[in-house]
Amino acid sequence: MQDDDLPWQLVLVFTPLSLLSLGGGQSVIADINKQVVDLHGWISQADFVDLFAISRAAPGPGSLLSTLIGWRVDGWTGALVASLAYFVPSSLIAFAVSRIWNRYRGRPWQGALEQGLAPLATGLILSGAFTVLLSSSGALSVWSIVAASAAVFILRPKLNPLPVLLAAGLVEVAVSALS
């Protein structure tokens, strides 16, 4: 592949996913993973897991994963192109719908759309989590941290996630050092 084509390829990967990321950025992680690792071979699976972790450890929306993948693939140009391709299409829809929505508030079709798509979006969110879990090392410690973290956040939804995530990182370091 010629380097000149890379920005365009990034647009072709991220724009459709932007428009289909129902339920938020989490829902297309599985497909981003498949496209950048399996289909295009831009980065390795280990790279992908690292980038995912950094996107979660960094402040701001987790969807910055697209920025990081773009940067890894084609430097700052890639970061900018991937970000625009991923954020602009869905944002334009959000903007248009925000404007129209209040004019029709309370109509039955709004409730039907909302209730119908909610479980679909939830299924996508959980699929994304499952895919990333399967692509990890699969060590018992990883599964245990996932279970413990899920339990903590289900029991305490308002908890600041940062200390829990840092603790999760330290636990994995300790477990690896001991084994």
Binding site: G60, I93, G123, L126, F130, I154, L165, E172
Partner: protein
Amino acid sequence: MTDTEPKPAVTLPQIFALFARIGLTSFGGGLSAWIYREVVDRRHWLSEDEFLAGLTLAQILPGPNVINISIYIGQRLRGTLGSVIAALALLLPPMVVAVALLILFRNFSHLEWLHDFLEGIAAGAIGLTISVGYRAARHAAKTNRWAPAVLALVFIAIGVLRWPLIPVVLCLAPLAVLVARKKV
């Protein structure tokens, strides 16, 4: 818009400052709750109903929920320019931080423990995502009796069988809306 009730005038710099701060200080998710606290509880820029309608929209539309809700809030407060400022303020500073972290990480990527650390953080973040999915599923099941079936279908198709996302969503979305219209 029929709402003529006087609102405190919110300036574009105020919108920028708030969303930049939220973007830079939030880690690992949960931004919507943070935005709610700042915009509704503390600043009274939007009523609770206005915010919740926007959050619902943000969740059903494609795109990251937190960016969609920022666009909605910016649009309500200051029209087109307000929504552009809110979204950019939320995204740009963390973008630079994320790439800086990645560059730092490359210089230290030979350190084995750093990979373990990041794998642990990723595992913790998966747990966070599962908890969000769990709460959303519980909520959906209360209003829509087909919710568990739709959720299971999507999970099996995308998560387990790894079918491509686009056709699965296009086939299931009309079906999901149709069955939700049947009375519970």
